[in-house]
Symmetry: C2
Subunit: 306 residues, 2 copies
């Protein structure tokens, strides 16, 4: 394993950045890792965990001398960080990000990138419901997809180097057009998260069913929703505000479909329900066959296997 | 461990009944287990797996001499089974069921129960997305709740015996009023399942995003929905048709709430979103603390731990 990059600056030290640090070391990369985070508490935790070779107080300091800069802050914080680091970036450096939306990030970050710096937006399609510097682990990206959404005229060599870096961290790398990325993720991530948050909110709000009942009997399906709805509130607020159009489009389709199923229940159209529920099984099979989920019942949670 | 019951008849040999058989044996119960299923293939599989001491072809045969009869068929099949077994039940026998709805089952089964037979409706709040006789495992009920919804005038001794039986299988046992059960389960199970089916259906249907994209990038949240949406179509058709009112009520509340969140996205009300997403985290903590789910990231799936 070569260095790949000699000095990597991690801006933000949450789940993704801390997992990148673990995965870089697992891969034997000898790059120097410089990290920073807005909160002093996060920086202290990162030092205690030895996530970086150096932890510095500002993004502007972190990028000095870095040939790879990773923006790993909530989407709403991207513009301020880009403005701060712009004047301090090295010529020839690559800047990438790990945000879950791409159009708004490109609009926010792009204008602050000086000539001679390669800005290549990226998104690791991986995560857990935990957040913060302590939640990272080296295996997070293994066999997960890393989506690059390169801008027209992107330097081929810089892109190939970034691709090799993510592959060394365990990822499969794909390229996607920016608008299409935001639509695909609205389907596979943003709408499901909003729906999970909604369902958990309804349960919490229903005065005729107590919270303690919701908790005790959650094993019947509900608890899967609560895992997703435990994800970081700031990150998700920013995702929805910055992928408004695609999310609202998918939620509109969802509502249509939900109304059709509600009508089938009210009119007792058992065949419609049965056909619908049979069709959705195939998608699950595809996901398990593609190695994107386990076939163990209940995700193998609690370590109980048949 | 005493016998508890000398002869237990399992009517239907799917996930729940096969798990009961495994859990009875794990508990060292010496009860004779007689099983039956409508499909010859299921009966053959049950014989091959040695799930029962005897497998017979009809429910009427299975209940002869049984002091416990467990109705473990889809809700829509309960009435026909009850009509078939009614004349063959032993005086003093207990009949219970494992259906996810209670009002309609009581209406369907009750009239066919002869005097001197104790009909005590029950519902193990446990399951996986897998179905059939091969999907059962002894740990399914461990630390999960078994809800009894006894009718007025239920024999106390019969109820205590059934309670002890389920406890021996690993369950915690609670009692609940029938209508309240159906409302609670609409929240913790039926509405979440319908919503998951809907979301997976939308993804499958969206021509601008291919199935292969949905599958590859599912790790961002969507794959959790596909697990639930892989559950048995017949079972779930019957649940919705037989818990229509409570399910439609909860879905109505869900839609209201979803519209409020959609409006917050459209009007870019970040505070509303952030507050909402913060509130839902507490429910997750409660579920983990109550031992109803694991705190391992991503349910500990794929065996990846931080």
């Amino acid at each position: 394993m070569s260095q790949m990059y000699s000095r990597v600056a991690l801006i933000g030290l949450g789940l993704i950045a801390s997992s990148m640090s673990h995965a870089m070391r697992r891969a034997g990369m000898t790059s120097e890792i410089v990290g920073t985070a807005r909160s002093a508490e996060t920086r202290e935790t990162a030092e205690k965990l030895d996530l970086c070779d150096t932890v510095v107080a500002t993004a502007a300091e972190a990028v000095v001398g870095a040939d790879l800069v990773v923006l790993a802050v909530p989407v709403g914080a991207m513009e301020a960080v880009a403005r701060e680091i712009g004047p301090h970036l090295e010529a020839g450096a690559t800047v990438t990000d790990v945000g879950s939306v791409k159009r708004e990030i490109v609009a926010a970050v792009g204008p602050h990138m000086p000539d001679g710096v390669h800005f290549i937006p990226g998104h690791p399609v991986a995560g857990t419901e935990h957040s913060g510097p302590e939640s990272g682990f080296a295996e997070l990206f293994d066999n997960r997809w890393l989506l690059l959404t390169p801008l027209p005229g992107t330097d081929v060599e810089a892109k190939e180097r970034l691709t090799a870096f993510w592959q060394a961290l365990g990822s499969n790398v794909d390229e996607m057009e920016i608008e299409h990325h935001d639509l695909v993720l609205a389907v596979t991530s943003h709408a499901p998260h909003l729906i999970a948050y909604t369902m958990v909110g309804v349960a919490d709000d229903l005065s005729r069913v107590t919270d303690s009942e919701v908790i005790k009997y959650s094993a019947a399906g509900f608890r899967d929703f609560t895992r997703i709805a435990a994800s970081d509130p700031t990150m998700w607020r920013d995702v929805f505000l910055n992928n408004k159009d695609a999310t609202l489009e998918i939620l509109g389709r969802f509502t249509e479909e939900l109304f059709a199923l509600q009508r089938a229940i009210r009119t007792e159209d058992g065949d419609y329900l049965h056909d619908y529920f049979t069709r959705t099984r195939a998608i699950r099979r595809g996901i398990v066959e593609a190695g994107q989920d386990t076939d163990a019942p209940d995700f193998g949670r609690m370590g109980k296997k048949p």
